[in-house]
């Protein structure tokens, strides 16, 4: 081991341990995967993955594909932002996908329009009083749903001391049941024009990117962010140092719940309908994005930037498989391999930089 001496008494310090930021590795992986698709495309499909090949369009890149790559991950990406801060502070949230389902059903019930093509709304849940409400009402109702669900998660974890895995698993099953019970399994459809704008076009990307910037700042420059890392790193030390660990945990899960609810608003607006099965497996995709982005499941390490890059890797893989005209089954299988690979890599990195 290369060691240099510093300080009184010659304390050893190994500069090689001063490792580069993990986000760099994730970025490298993203570039590698994209390049691989580009090469395979050129060699076997006679088409480019990233670049424009249509002669009637004047552009360097294939913007359509690039847009799709980010658009298809931005809704789960919103959830992944919340999941990232949960995992950094040493927890896990399995309930976000189900919160999306339940919130979408409830929110859409307050966003319906009374008249569809000259007829009364066939999917109406409530009476006339809940029809054509200003868009603020369903959004507020939706965010409140997420807030309550997150608050319950956080309170259970902080005050009953049950493992986050169990608490959020319970919420996952409960919220999925709630979304089925809400309209007896029927979809809730036909939102007002105002509501439909929220998820239109590239709006999900705009929301995802602005929230990512916001949460990047929060995690890096506020007391809240610092305490996320501290608690995930050493909960006992944080408690002894006077950090109100319980309050912090409640806040962390509440924010995660609100973000899941926001994703529900966006996805139901985008699809112009809410179904009880909405958001199925979103929680796992969100966790996978974070883990691929270098967020350690042991807590204390990771970043929003990493998660955003992880989400992009996700998007590139899905688009790449479509581009190569491979079946969706392969996507799932490869996703599984990548998730496990990312965690193995994290463990391996941990072991290699054990204490000096």
């Amino acid at each position: 081991m290369a060691q240099t001496s510093h300080g009184i008494g010659g304390l050893s310090y190994d500069p090689a341990k001063n490792s580069r930021p993990p986000e760099l590795n994730v970025l490298l992986a993203l570039v590698l995967i994209t390049t691989a698709f580009e090469l395979i495309g050129r060699l076997f499909m006679g088409d480019s993955f990233l670049f424009n090949t249509r002669e009637n369009v004047d552009a360097l890149f294939n913007w359509q594909r690039l847009n799709i790559i980010i658009l298809q991950v931005s809704i789960v990406g919103i959830i992944a932002l919340g999941v990232t801060q949960v995992i950094i502070s040493g927890g896990i949230d399995l309930s976000s996908g189900s919160i999306v389902g339940a919130t979408a059903m409830i929110t859409m019930s307050f966003a319906q329009t009374a008249i569809v093509n000259g007829n009364p709304n066939p999917k109406a849940i409530f009476g006339d009083w809940a029809m054509d409400l200003p868009v603020l009402v369903p959004v507020a109702v939706g965010l409140c749903c997420g807030l309550i669900a997150g608050l319950v998660n956080g309170a259970l974890i902080a005050y009953t001391r049950i493992p986050p895995f169990i608490a959020t698993l319970g919420m996952m099953v409960f919220a999925r049941g709630l979304s089925r019970w809400w309209s007896n399994g029927n979809p809730v459809s036909f939102p007002t024009e105002g509501y439909a704008v929220i998820g239109q076009g590239m709006m999900p990307v705009v929301i995802f990117v602005s929230l990512a910037v916001l949460f990047h700042l929060v995690l890096n420059h506020t007391k809240y962010g610092k305490h996320c890392y501290a608690i995930g790193s050493n909960e006992q030390a944080s408690r002894m140092s006077g950090i109100k660990v319980n309050n912090h945990k409640v806040l962390v899960y509440t924010i995660a719940g609100i973000l899941a609810a926001l994703a529900a608003v966006v996805v139901s607006s985008k699809n112009l309908t809410a179904q009880s099965g909405m958001g199925m497996m979103y929680e796992l995709d969100a966790i996978a994005m974070a883990v691929i982005g270098g967020v350690s499941l042991q807590g204390g390490r990771g970043s929003i930037l990493g998660t955003v890059l992880g989400a992009l890797i996700f998007g590139v893989i899905i688009s790449g498989f479509t581009f190569l005209k491979l079946d969706a089954y392969y996507q799932e299988m490869v996703k599984g391999v990548i998730i496990v690979g990312a965690v193995v890599l994290d463990q391996w990195r941990q072991k290699n930089r054990g204490r000096g």
Binding site: G7, T222, K223, Y224, A230, G300, G356
Partner: protein, 256 residues
């Protein structure tokens, strides 16, 4: 104004019938370094736990800096000015040095409740000051603690006590887990504190260390203070006989 920084009167702690600490009368003067010795289970850790608010005494008073205190938690003791370096280091591995120093006591640029914005520059500067004050050298402040050696970690824990205006530092076996060189470094820091006039309570099993660093040695045995010895008036043999109980506290009277 007296020059006593800490006084305990009849400090007693019973754990459901077990007399872990009985009538401890202890005085620490300003700028004084006192070592606490004793066998395992002699009551020295129990004594420290009462002082640092980790536990609450069954009976007795703690007068710190002229005011009688009842510390409900370690945080209260810390706010009063008692900084403790615990045996199991209370550091967060994934944070850098300034973040660890200011853990739970961050400096803010703008106060917004939980989302208050950190003043990283001020914390970095205060960290540098604290490290200079204690004579600790750390190659790169912005490195996480995880990559540091045991000695460096212990130094960070000690520097933490210097970053705030502590009036008393308590160290619970600060070198128990360290190598020879690292122990020397920590002992140097303790000497720096002595020169700066910072009072210190040092718990140690290391006789050489105690005679090197302390002005006075207080021996605990079976939950009682059995000896209070000035360093110049005693030797290792003497201290050991008090620890083992071969000698009992005849000279204890009035020795403060």
């Amino acid at each position: 104004m007296s020059n006593v920084i800490l006084e305990t009167r009849g400090l007693t702690k019973h754990y459901s019938g077990v007399h872990a600490l009985s009538d401890a009368n202890f005085i620490l003067h300003k700028g004084e370094h006192v070592a606490i010795m004793g066998d395992n289970g002699a009551g020295k850790s129990t004594f420290v736990r009462q002082l640092t608010g980790v536990e609450q005494p069954t009976r007795g008073q703690i007068v710190f800096d002229g005011i009688e205190h009842t510390f409900a938690s370690p945080i209260e003791a810390r706010e009063a000015g008692i900084e403790t370096v615990f045996q199991n280091l209370a550091l967060a591995d994934d944070l850098d040095v300034p973040s660890n120093l200011f853990l739970g006591r961050e400096k803010f640029r703008i106060r917004l409740g939980p989302f208050s914005i950190l003043d990283k520059k001020a914390m970095r500067e205060a960290t540098t000051q604290a490290l200079i004050k204690t004579g600790v050298k750390i190659p790169n402040l912005m490195n996480t603690i995880r990559n540091m050696s045991g000695g460096q970690r212990q130094c960070v824990a000690i520097a933490r006590t210097a970053a705030f205006k502590s009036k008393l530092v308590i160290m619970d076996e600060p070198t128990a887990a360290l190598g020879v060189q690292e122990t020397a470094q920590v002992e140097n820091i303790i000497r720096t504190l002595k020169e700066a006039g910072e009072p210190l309570i040092l718990i140690s099993h290391n006789m050489r260390q105690v005679f090197d660093l302390a002005d006075r040695i207080v021996v605990f045995r079976r939950g009682r203070i059995v000896a209070n010895l000035r360093k110049e008036e005693t030797d290792g043999q003497d201290v050991v006989s008090y620890i083992t109980g071969a000698k009992t506290g005849a000279e204890f009277e009035g020795a403060t």
